[in-house]
Subunit: 407 residues, 2 copies
């Protein structure tokens, strides 16, 4: 895939320095006004974020392009400086990366859900009553053992992700990944038969159909999880790392598999993440030496948005605001607060609205007139409205990580 | 012509839904301050537009690219989401579309004006004293009959557009459209001889020269319209329709041939348009069932701008403002108020200034702090400043007409 002129320039100009950049990412932060006329970010008591906004520069960033609602993959690729329209990553690959499954270049991966089928083979529950992770592990262990070596030269790996979610990987020469989802994303209908768009993919799809059939036999007696639904067939996309592109030594502090997977995709180190939100600064501090780019991921703003829970979203923002001083105590050179996309509580879903963003960098940032961190306040910010892929280069510049371009 | 990655994504993500989008387009709306320091839009008493601006999001859109002054063709293509730098449409094609002439792929079309020539063949009046449409029809009937079959395998069609304006179409295999204008856009000089840039076009140009000569003979005795001036040779560009690109069922409510032609080019339905401005809402209501995208074109703001008539431009805006409530009564999901370009009254011409724009969409729009609709007010709008080709995708997003991009 050819690089744009900007990407070429950024790569060529990048410098390794000791300056440290923290990306504090509130998943799904952007929102719409709630009943009181304010968004969760505007309603939150967040004096530290307001101070950073006042001292720094603010703006709005379109995750992919105006009007496009991103999934978590495209949103995070944009944050990491990769054009989400050119780097497409399938759900299967994200799932594999998230559970540390060592994907090889020949592998084809897909996400699957355990589901509940009725006597006629129609889908009753696309998530099999959200079975427990332990139940998933039990069933997955049986399936993996039965199917691993059942297809000759093509090896089959079946792994637990969490709850009803699993990973299927096929390994062998000559496989194809252009295979349709078997999940119809609806109940009352049977799963879709896998089929491939080209010869290699159709050959691979025939193995997938056989796997689905045998899994059905193995799971026949299960009360909830008696079938599987596959989606997001893909290969590892071999994305150039942040180290290759920007000479960064990046580290990820995130709990959820998908975000860890995305961070691994761009070459971030991956320590164990703390279970509790307020332990994030300590986890960050533990990685302070040896790294210069820190991706901190806060999932719960997105969860609250998806649940339509305005107040919980406010609460998460306020909780994070209280521990930001401990991040600042570490002495970062640049702090960016942003998001991968908006998840308005009123829509209970991701949306296309641009994400409010602040860039704090003592001594190098040009301040604007924004004095609080919120959707409306950021409109007047000095960063204006631009594409999210520009945000990382802006942070690098404020950390003096780019040489001058041209004489 | 290859599509951009954004265009690909928009096309792939688009969904057909029942949500209805109204594009209320004031031709040439954008302006500069007049004697009282306000622009016509700022000076107009337009409480409804101000309310929509307060409830919605505002911004400025560059019709083509910063600094470029568009003709009506590029301006409208931008509004309809087509990059005007890639989709070039000649005036001849627009004229043909505007009068419902059924252009075929082999055809080459050009606009012509009847003109007045003096005894030495120099242009005295480029518009032949703006002869009446009836007079045009009389002359055009004679020319068409005389020339239709005068060139063997190449058929000639000559049609009335309106007043001094006409359409020439050549139909035959192997024609070329790279032919210069014969209109020198000046008086006191003779028309330019047609010539072609390549072999096929030069062959075609030789037919055009012969047509001009024979037309001169036929019209020799006419007091006003004794010559013709040609411009905008082109073929039908075969632009993919709004239905193909965005799954829309669009309809155009416009009176003027050129705008109807542009709308037809992108596949809009085309009912008879009302003669009076205040009848626009009723015409819209008559098309409400069966359509989900409504292009309403108000020509008179541009005309007033071209005439340098500040007060008349204010009056048109106020007249439209009064009938907008009747549009809102129909229950649209998204209303966009924008323009194809600016036509400042002080410049008496189209200009490059971005167009003030509001997007109103209850429940899905993120409001900003703008509380009136005007050039200066829109600078602080949440839509920022961007290219006009982004406006339709933004409207589609606010009508929930895009799926999520990626997992």
């Amino acid at each position: 895939m050819p690089w744009s002129l900007e990407e070429h320039a950024y790569r060529k100009l990048s410098l390794q320095t000791d300056a440290r950049i923290v990306f504090l990412i509130f998943d799904g932060l952007g929102d719409l006004p709630g009943p009181n006329g304010l968004t969760p970010l505007e309603a939150a008591q967040s004096p530290v974020l307001d101070r950073l906004a006042a001292e720094g520069a603010c703006g709005h960033f379109d995750p992919v392009a105006p009007g496009i609602t991103p999934g978590s993959g495209p949103g995070h690729l944009g944050l990491f400086g990769y054009d989400p329209l050119r780097f497409l990553v399938g759900r299967g690959v994200l799932a594999a990366l998230g559970i540390d499954f060592p994907l090889e270049p020949v592998d084809v991966a897909a996400r699957f859900n355990y589901c509940t089928l009725d006597g006629d083979g129609r889908i009753v529950d696309r998530r099999a009553g959200r079975i427990s992770t332990e139940e998933n592990q039990r069933l997955t262990g049986i399936l993996d053992a039965k199917l691993r070596d059942a297809f000759g030269d093509v090896k089959v790996f079946i792994r637990t992700v969490s709850e009803h979610r699993g990973l299927l990987v096929l390994r062998g020469e000559g496989l194809g990944a252009a295979i349709c989802d078997t999940d119809p994303q609806a109940t009352g209908v049977p799963p879709i038969d896998a089929h491939g768009d080209d010869e290699a993919s159709e050959r691979t799809a025939s193995i997938v159909r056989e796997i689905v059939a045998r899994a059905g036999e193995v799971l026949a007696g299960e009360p909830k999880a008696n079938g599987i639904l596959l989606r997001g067939f893909d290969r590892h996309p071999n994305i150039p790392s942040l180290s290759e592109r920007f000479k960064l030594r990046p580290v990820c502090i995130a709990q959820y598999p998908m975000y860890r997977g995305l961070a691994r995709l761009v070459g971030m180190d991956m320590p164990q993440a703390p279970a509790k939100l307020q332990d994030l600064p300590d986890a960050l501090g533990a990685e302070w030496e040896g790294h210069d780019f820190f991706f901190l991921h806060v999932k719960y703003t997105d969860k609250a948005g998806e649940d339509g829970d305005f107040e919980r979203k406010v609460g998460v923002i306020e909780e994070v605001d209280r521990f930001i001083p401990r991040i600042l105590d570490l002495g970062p050179d640049v702090v960016v607060v942003s998001a991968d996309h908006s998840t308005p509580a009123s829509l209970k879903a991701h949306s296309w609205h641009p994400v409010p963003t602040l860039l704090w960098a003592p001594g190098t940032v040009r301040p604007d007139n924004v004095d609080s961190f919120g959707e409306r306040a950021c409109i007047a910010g000095g960063l204006g409205r631009q594409r999210l892929i520009n945000l990382l280069p802006l942070a690098l510049a404020h950390a003096h990580k780019f040489q001058k371009f041209g004489a």
